[in-house]
Amino acid sequence: MYKIDRDGLLLVAIQTQPAARARVTETSKQALLVKAVRRGEQEAFATLYSLYAPMVHGILLARVPWSEVDDLVQDVFLVVLKKLDTLRDDDAFGGWLAMIARNRAMDFHRRNRETEELSDEVAAHNTPDDRREAAHVLEVICGLPEAYRETLVLRLVEGMSGPEIAERTGLTPASVRVNLHRGMKLLRNKLGMEGLA
């Protein structure tokens, strides 16, 4: 029997020994949550959502305009609910979800190819200096290669640590570390040339 705490921790509760709660590993935790969602438990889905929404938000932010990201996050989780039965390995949920988020971002660009967007640069003219600087830095990050930009956004925007990024996205920690290191180096160069405000 399992129980989900408010903070998203999955606890194993044994009725005969209430104190004997063991924290299960992160991988089996998400697998159990996925199983619970399959059974139709909304609480488990809420937990899964709160755990993975920052990752989905970061992946989308690295690809689509900020104003669209929140709606697309909801879309991605709707797709998750629809296609959850197609996920074979519950432990691979993070990587599967990241792929859905990337595909959703691509769909967004396909559908909006012909519409003219108000770019972040233009929008930034009407915002305070901090916002303008943030928009500028984000624009520079979005100009980096895809592997670096996604990892950097998750680290610098969403505040996730390297191990967290690896665990959520399904990448190996080594890959994440390399991406962070190289991406940060590129970002420093670009910002060093143009300079931070």
């Binding site: 959502y49 901090d130 610098l156 570390r177 290191h181």
Partner: protein, 268 residues
Amino acid sequence: MNDDYLWDASGEPDPDVQRLEQVLGHYRYQPRPLSPALTSRFTWQRRGWLRFAAAAAVILMVLAGFWIFKVQQKRTVDQRDTTATINAPEDVPRKEIGPLAPSGPVAPDKSAERGPLRKTYHRAARRDQQPPDSAIGNSNLVAERQPIMIPFIDLETARHLEQAQLMLRSFRNSRESNAQTDPDLAYEKQQSKGLLYKNIVLRRDAEAKGNQPAENLLSTLEPFLLDIANLPDRPTTDEVRSIKERMQKKEIVSALQIYSAPVLSQSL
């Protein structure tokens, strides 16, 4: 350069990374409650009985549709049969029956033996012989539950037809003997006379009302009543057999039953 701070925020803070974190924090994900679109899917998923009810409703609708289709199909077949039976006797030439002939067997009416009415009787007889699983057999099944509407036969005519049918059955079942006539035939002769007068009255009434199907049916019955009523006191075997053969040929007993039974069952 030490990347520990960049990796897991441990170790000596990197001022550039800290600055970028501070600047980009504006874009950080802000926790929000689940949208109604997401929660509604769970509400639906949880209520398994709703899905079960929906599936049951669909199955019931399909079954009801199938049942209605079958009933309508049976009614169509039934109506087709009734229409064919009603329309059939129209071509039979009208025969005017005069007063009761004095004596002697009346020659069978050849023209009445042919024509569509004969076909109708054949059809009725065949219907009785059909296996129950055939389409026409099924239409009989419906007829048992829902009597066929025969608008041109009123209750009085139906009762008359039933009495005539019983009398003809009795006559048909009489034993043939070379030596003498079956003694029971005297009763049939007497009953046939009464039925003949009533048949004439009913036929003329039908003619006056323009009820041609009833008129034709009664016209077909009349020669048999006439023949039986006019049998001699000691009829020969050939005379009796001749009437029986004509009865069999025209299937008059079955026809009378078909026309009288539904009306009488409705009156009950």
